[in-house]
Each structure stands twice: as C-alpha cells, then as structure tokens.
C-alpha cells in the first residue's frame, strides 16, 4: 500500500509536468489552430539554458529558472514569427505541420551541435539536503511536491489571466473566430505571439522540472515528453486548459503504474495505446466540445 501511494505520487508528479507542457500545446492549438510539434523541443532548450546558467556558469538556481523561462519565451516568439507566420494564410495544414516538424528537428540538431549527444547531468533545483521529505511512513521526493504545486498554481493563474484580463479575453476571441476578432480591433498577430510566449515560457518551466526529476539531459530529452504531453492534451480535450491539466495528471499516473505493474519496456506503448483508445471512444477528449465541420 505504501509503495502504491508512492507510485501514485510519482505518477502525479510526472503528470503535472505533462500537464504544464500540455497546456502549451492546447493553447497554441486553440488559438493558432496548429500543432506546434516543436513544443517538446522547447522544453529541451529550456533545460539546456538552465543547465548552462546553473551548472556551467555557477549562478544561483533562481537565475537559471528565470533564464530558462525568458529564453524559451524568446525562442517561442521567434519560431512563430519566422516559421509559422508566413504559412498562416497558406490554407494547408499539411504545410504547417511539416514546417513544425522541421523546426523540431532543427532545434534538436542545433542542440546536438552545441552540446553534443553525450547526456549532461542536470543539477536538480532542490538542494541535496532537502531531496526528500518524510510524512509518517511516506518518503516523498521534494521535486514531486514542487512539480505538483507549480502546475496547480500555473493553471489557476492562467485561468485568471484568460478570464479576467483583456489580453486573455482577446485570446478567447481569437480562438473563436479570428476574422471577427480582428474586426473588433484585436491584434491577431499580437495575440498569437502572446500565446506562443506563454506556452513556451511554461515549456521552459517544464524543462527545469523534468530535468530535476529525471536528471539526464540530451538533445532528445524533450521529444518524448512533448509527444506524451500532446497525448495528454488530446486526452483532456484539445483547446481546454483544465482538460490539459486533468489529461496530464491521468497520463502521468497511467505511465508510472504501467511501468511498475505491467512492463517497464512497454510504458511508452501503453501511453500511446491510451491515445488510440481515447480517439476511438471519445475523439473530443474528456472536456472537449464537439465541433461540426463546415465546408
């Protein structure tokens, strides 16, 4: 029982990281109507930025985290401006998707050239003396609690931002109807850039958390969590932020439980099987709304 609860907490911790990544996917999907394939690799970039600042330059942890957040924000905006914006009116989702894959591949290979393929040991952001916390019979990793707390706080902040502020309302408007939004005086380009900035900043945070929990960092670190986070976003209903949170947490728990009780080698296969089942049974996800396609 004790070990089960420990696995559950591990699952929730991993799931909360997926949730933070999934929110980035879901926001971009909702507003820019595209699958930002490179989102997973922005995580990796964030982790490398934090690694360079904390481990190589020996600056405080807070500097590393901030550098990761702002670095990713900048990269997110640049990716959008350079690669995705020229194709926004191309009318081909295939072209946008292939470009996104190209960007993802580009980020991986730039990281490969700069940092080489040898994995780096990421210094966890939690000091060595506080790695675990004892609750009665439970011994919990501090990073798990940090991840879960951070993800909850981020979701609440984001909900407040979207529902209570003007830029947030502009995002909602763009998600509903881009043309009508621009007629209402909303800057669509600005709003999409803002979405990418927020999503990428969250990817930066996710990168730091992910590499603190699983401290090997390589150019491919972000790819798999990125894809799994997309699964989480679909699971929760793409376009819905609470859905991404729930999907992420559930997926994290499923992955850790599958790894423990079924097969450690098949854990990825189990996660993808979840995606396929969701798409077969409820293609709109847990909290998604069904939208009728129009000609």
């Amino acid at each position: 029982m004790v070990s089960f609860i420990n696995y559950l907490i591990n699952g929730l911790s991993l799931g909360s990281i997926y949730a933070i990544i999934a929110i980035g996917y879901t926001m971009v999907y909702g507003i820019a109507k595209m699958l930002n394939f490179a989102h997973g690799d922005v995580i990796m970039v964030g982790a490398y930025i934090a690694f360079s600042v904390i481990t190589t330059a020996h600056l405080p942890v807070a500097c590393g985290v901030l550098a990761a957040i702002f670095g990713c924000m900048l990269i997110g905006i640049c990716i959008e401006k350079i690669a995705y914006k020229p194709l926004r009116h191309a009318g081909s989702s295939l072209a946008v998707l292939i470009t996104a894959i190209g960007v993802s591949y580009f980020l991986q290979n730039v990281a490969l050239l700069i940092f080489s393929s040898n994995p780096k040991m990421f210094t966890p952001i939690i000091p060595m003396t506080m790695m675990t916390i004892q609750f009665g019979v439970f011994r919990v990793q501090t990073i798990s609690l940090v991840s879960i707390t951070v993800s909850i706080v981020l979701v609440l902040l984001l909900q407040l931002f979207i529902n209570k502020t003007r830029p947030g309302q502009a995002m909602l408007a763009c998600a509903q109807d881009r043309g009508a939004a621009s007629l209402m005086g909303i800057s669509v380009n600005g709003t999409i850039s803002l979405t990418f900035a927020i999503g990428s900043a969250m990817a930066g945070i996710a990168g730091v958390l992910l590499c603190s929990a699983y401290p090997t960092l390589s150019p491919y670190t972000g790819a798999m969590p990125g894809i799994k986070a997309f699964v989480a976003a679909v699971f929760g209903g793409i376009g819905s932020i609470p859905g991404a949170m729930i999907g992420g947490l559930l997926l994290g728990v499923i992955e850790i439980m599958g790894k423990t009780y079924i097969s450690s080698q098949l854990s990825d296969a189990i996660v993808f099987a979840v995606l396929i089942i969701v798409l077969l049974v409820r293609p709109t996800g847990l909290l998604g709304k069904k939208v009728q396609e129009k000609v």
Binding site: Y29, M34, L35, A83, P86, L87, H89, A90, S92, S93, L94, A95, V96, L97, I98, T99, I101, G102, V103, Y105, F106, Q108, N109, V110, L112, L113, A223, I227, F230, V231, V234, S263, Q265, L266, D268, A269, F272, A273, L275, I276, L279, L280, P283, E293, V295
Partner: protein, 362 residues
C-alpha cells in the same frame, strides 16, 4: 480498341517518362558496374538507395496523394523487415533461394499491409494533426514491441515470449530466431541491386497507375476537399484505408529488401525510429509533395550526398531540418508563391502556365 500511343494523355506520358527514367538509370548503373567503374563502397549503396527510393514512393502516396501526414512509415518498414527476415530464417534450409526470397518479400509486404490496415482502422477516422501523431505513436509502439519480442524454435515448434530468452523454455536443439533487443542475426544476404530495382519499379508503376485510375482520382478528391468529396458519394474512409494499406505494403516490401541486406537486424531508433520517418518525409518534401518522380530523385540524391560530402556529416541533419522549413515556406507562403508564379521559367520563355503547383501527381 483505340491506338494507345496517340490517345495518350499528358499524365500517362509523364508516367512513362518516370518509368523510362528509372529504367535508364538502372541500365546506366549496370553498364558502369560491368565496366568496373563502381567502387565497392558505392556498390554497397545501391540496395539502400533502392530501399529509400521505394520508401519515398510509399510515403509520397500517403503525403502527396492522400494528403495526410504519416510519421510512422519507418514502423511499417520495420514490420516488413522483421516479418520477412523471420520467414527467411525459418525456411533457410528448406527452400531454394529464389522462391524463398520472393515469398519473403511478399510476406514482408503482406504483414506490413495487415498492420497498416489494423492501424488504419482507428487512425483514418482522424485527420491532419491527429493522424500524424497517432502514426508516430504507432511507429514507436511497433519498435518497442519488436524490442521485447523473443521467438525461438526447437523440435516442438515455435516459442514466443515477451519477457526474456529463458522464459521461452527452448530444448537442447532450439535456436533463437528473434532475440528481443538483439533482433534477428544471420538473415541470408539475398538482396541485390536487380531485386531492389524491380521492387522500386513495380511500386512506382503501381502508384502511378493508381493515381490515374478512378480510385486515384477519388483519393485526390478527398485530399483536396474531404467534405465535398464525401457529399458527392465518395466513400472517404474506404479510399483512405486503401491508399494507406497500399503504402504500408510497399513500405513492407522495402523493409524486406532492407533486412536481407543486413547481417544483424536490430530495431534501433536509428534504423526504424522517428528520425527515419522524418528522413523519408524530407525525400518527399524535397522532391515536391505529390510527385513520385521527384521523391525518387530526392531519395537517391540525399542518400548519395552524405557519402560524397563526408565533411558535412555533422551538419547533415541540420540541413534536412532547414530543407523542410524553407521548402514549405517558399512553396506555400502566398507571397512567395505569387513571386514564383510571376517569375517561373515557363513565363520567361513565353510558355503557357498550366500546373498550379507541384500537386498534380506526376
């Protein structure tokens, strides 16, 4: 019956051109080989070139003709490679080389086709982005499954396990056929350039014929406007399934060719992973999405370039990434498209512009 040569449409002339190009390339390479002008290293590249060109034809069918993005084509190739190598290992001593290899290729294609069909059932109800990610997921699942699969054989028959070698419970005379992460070793070396060329040629002919058939036009109608195609009575899922399965069959045959050219077949990410699927996508994109001929040419060039330009090895992947991004933006950005249309070669020479884009399916 009408005289076929005179009533030939532009499309079938184009197709004939593609096939003649392939045959000419084959003849030239054979002459060069006979004259001893092909060194051993280049000679070893011939089969991989055929494999990659066939994969490009296969993926072009899904991306260019069906208009959906599959990121799991390396997975189908993996299935074909393992199924055919498994067959060849099982019947290594009980059949002649020629019928065995022929059957192995067919089995590789059929098993991959079955996988393509089964995967197609959930996948083809989806569109665009979802389809891309699910095929990617399937590619990874296949790779994972092959890596935990153990199959052995002894006098009592075949033994399967997904745990380890010991749990197979093989008898004294047993031998391992698929050894989990070690894969299959000792597949007979049956692949050669002639077989590779024939597989490429047959796949190309099949795909080109499909494009110019009623079915092909239906598939392209689905690509261009799914809802409109559905409302004129085209059964969307059935045609999508057909194209997808056919593409998987071709990929499986390419996999069979690939596996019979390797002494040890291991499902490593480098061989059958996501990066491989991306490489095939680069072939299709560089060759011009929808153009079978272009895909083949791009596959050949991109397979040869790293061999010629060794000093660029570190930057190869980066260049692929840039190819993907730049090709897409140049070809699809409304402004650059208008620029290309206004300044195209045809315009300069005063020819009438016919093709709208590279999507006509040559």
């Amino acid at each position: 019956m009408k005289n076929r040569m005179t009533s030939m449409t532009k499309a079938s002339k184009d197709n004939l051109g593609t096939i003649l190009m392939l045959v000419a390339a084959f003849v030239i390479v054979e002459i060069l080989r006979a004259a001893g002008l092909v060194n051993a290293h280049m000679d070893g590249m011939l089969v991989p070139i055929c494999v990659y060109a066939t994969m490009a034809v296969s993926l072009n069918l899904v991306v260019g003709i069906l208009g959906e993005l599959s990121l799991g084509h390396a997975g189908f190739m993996c299935v074909g490679a393992f199924a055919s190598a498994f067959f060849s290992k099982c019947f290594e001593n009980s059949m002649g080389v020629f019928p065995r290899f022929l059957l192995a290729i067919l089995i590789g294609g059929i098993v991959a086709g079955i996988f393509g069909f089964l995967i197609g059932i959930p996948v083809l109800r989806l569109n665009g982005d979802y389809l891309a990610i699910v095929t990617l997921a399937f590619g990874e699942i296949i790779k994972n499954l092959v890596n935990v699969l153990y199959v052995g054989r002894d006098s009592a028959g075949l033994h399967f396990s997904i745990k380890d070698q010991a749990s197979l419970g093989l008898m004294e005379d047993g031998e391992m056929i698929i050894a989990g992460p070690q894969g299959i070793t000792g597949t007979p070396f049956n692949s050669n350039f002639v077989v590779g060329f024939l597989i490429l040629l047959i796949s190309t002919i099949v795909v080109l014929n499909l494009i110019n058939s009623r079915e092909g036009r239906a598939i392209m109608a689905i690509r261009d406007n799914r809802i409109a195609a559905g409302s004129v009575g085209i059964p969307i899922t059935r045609y999508k399934m057909f194209a997808f399965t056919l593409s998987a069959v071709i990929a499986g045959c390419a996999g069979a060719l690939y596996s019979h050219n390797l002494s040890s077949l291991i499902a490593t990410p480098a061989r059958f992973g996501y990066n491989m699927s991306i490489l095939f996508l680069v072939f299709v994109v560089l060759g011009g999405i929808g153009s079978t001929r272009g895909s083949i040419i791009a596959a050949v060039i991109l397979t040869l370039i790293p061999e010629v330009l060794r000093f660029m090895a570190d930057y190869r992947m980066l260049i692929y990434a840039i190819i993907l991004i730049v090709m897409m933006i140049v070809n699809w950005n409304p402004k650059s498209r208008a620029f290309i249309q206004a300044h195209s070669v045809g315009k300069i020479f005063g020819k009438k512009k016919t093709a709208k884009s590279g999507k006509e399916g040559a």
